[in-house]
Symmetry: C2
Subunit: 303 residues, 2 copies
């Protein structure tokens, strides 16, 4: 049995942390607004794969009270990542693995700079879930997680982590770090921003021939940027596959569109500014993605 | 005295045609919705330079009833330019000059294709005016017109046209055709589309550092496209001047934003698609302008 820490017990942290706790791991949850409720009533996970309730949750209001952990799952929105410098230290032992289950590109590099000696792993969640009320997570579909190794030198611990996910009933696999982050960006960068900029959903963007072409152009800018950076297996055919896949989806509002609709901070920095900075520093221009970033900055300022 | 025809008696046609009529020219006005009103009550021009009323207006409901004219002022929105093939022929004599007082790039070439032997001149109006009610034009400020010779071989007639404007109290000057159209595009292409895409006005776009940079980027794409086409005197310093000028203006909604606000057709074709087609055919790409066009097509489809 290992000690797990979960920073941010929402739709993602509540689900993966909840599954691990149910499977018998010792999981310590950091909560903010829901602390009192969960301390008293526990955590409910309504899931398409079988609902369950955790009666006794190791709930904390401050990481200062939490123990050092073997694995920390960071499930904050990246708009709160500046808090990690204060939040993480009490949980870190020399052998701790920090898994960033977050959106965007550049999060691992920036957290590594805060904690140069910590083993960092990217977590790419493929899941539809939402926190519907205090202490209650609704898991609608999917649920797998891919792990991309950023700086963990201990392969054995990584495989033990995979085993823990499997034992908890979570599909998990190791993937190439750069490839996974950039493949996710091929979908994320066009659709998150465009649904906000035009206040629409994925289906309408693909039905209109002008924006369908624009979505493809934006995807190709991500593909060519990734290729310029030397990331392997990100090519034009992958972008085509992403468009076909989205054609098959029900009308969808990406996370940034939901943030916009509910007047929450948008993850512009790690979804646009940081990747564009990395790309520019490598001498590559992505003019349409730049334009989208500027428009999102304008929309965000008006919020 | 010359015979003038005015196709489209709105904010522009009502003002310039009205000024010419008041100065003693024989002016024939095509009207649509306002025909009955103007036939009975005449035309009122409320103007910062002195208001006036035309009691008896040569008003027509169809160009079939209009005489051949020495000069025809086309003051339609370009979204109606497909009608010109039917509307213009009754007014055209071999010596007729057609002045297109319209927005965008490519209108002269397209009208020339409909009427290969007709002398065509571009009219670039610098004016704030609006049709406020039937038969009533409100002219708030400016009012000058620049003429760019597209295909008129008779210089003497062009100078006589300038004289008529001057005698009517309208500032008018001959300018280089390509230069004038592209200089206007340096302002028009960024501001018309961006105020619609972000549902805002000129001042807020320039106050936000991200969109201020984007406006400059879009202007530079127009400048570099014009330079690629060999248009002279359109350079980066002109774009900077346009930004400084707009900084000094009161918060402004360009014509496309007004069309959007009042659910009228937007001039996407001649403000974006045609110039971008010309630019692409010359082997130049303007990715941010392309993106703006696609977003406007999406917005327009939702209207």
């Amino acid at each position: 049995m290992k000690k797990y820490g979960v920073i941010g017990t929402g739709a993602i942290g509540g689900y993966y942390g909840g599954k691990l706790a149910r499977s018998g791991q010792e999981v310590h949850f950091l909560l903010h607004r829901d602390y009192d409720y969960v301390k008293e009533h526990g955590l409910q996970v309504d899931s398409c794969d079988g609902s369950f309730h955790l009666d006794h949750v190791n709930a904390y209001h401050s990481t200062a009270d939490m123990p050092q952990c073997d694995v920390v799952l960071v499930c904050l929105k990246t708009t709160n990542n500046h808090l990690l410098k204060e939040l993480l230290p009490p949980l870190l032992a020399p052998h701790t693995i920090v898994v960033l289950i977050q959106n965007g590109i550049g999060v691992e590099a920036d957290v590594q700079q805060m904690f140069p000696d910590t083993a960092i792993v990217a977590g790419l969640a493929f899941i539809c879930s939402a926190k519907t009320e205090p202490g209650r997570v609704s898991h609608q579909c999917y649920g797998s997680i891919n792990l991309g190794n950023y700086s963990c030198k201990d392969e054995a611990r990584l495989h033990a982590l995979l085993d823990d996910f499997h034992n908890a009933g979570v599909e998990a696999a190791m993937v190439s770090y750069d490839e996974a982050r950039w493949k996710k960006a091929v979908w994320n960068m066009p659709f998150n921003g465009m649904t906000v900029a035009l206040n629409t959903q994925t289906d309408l963007l693909l039905q209109n021939p002008s924006t369908r072409k624009l979505i493809r152009d934006l995807m190709m800018e991500v593909v060519h940027a990734a290729q310029h950076l030397g990331v392997s297996n990100v090519d034009e055919s992958f972008a085509e596959k992403m468009i076909e896949m989205t054609d098959q989806m029900t009308p969808y509002s990406p996370s940034m569109k939901l943030d916009y609709d509910f007047h929450r901070p948008m993850e512009i920095h790690y979804l646009y500014s940081r990747p564009l900075e990395i790309v520019h520093n490598a001498g590559f221009r992505a003019p349409k993605l730049e334009m989208l970033e500027a428009m999102l900055r304008f929309v965000n300022a008006g919020e």
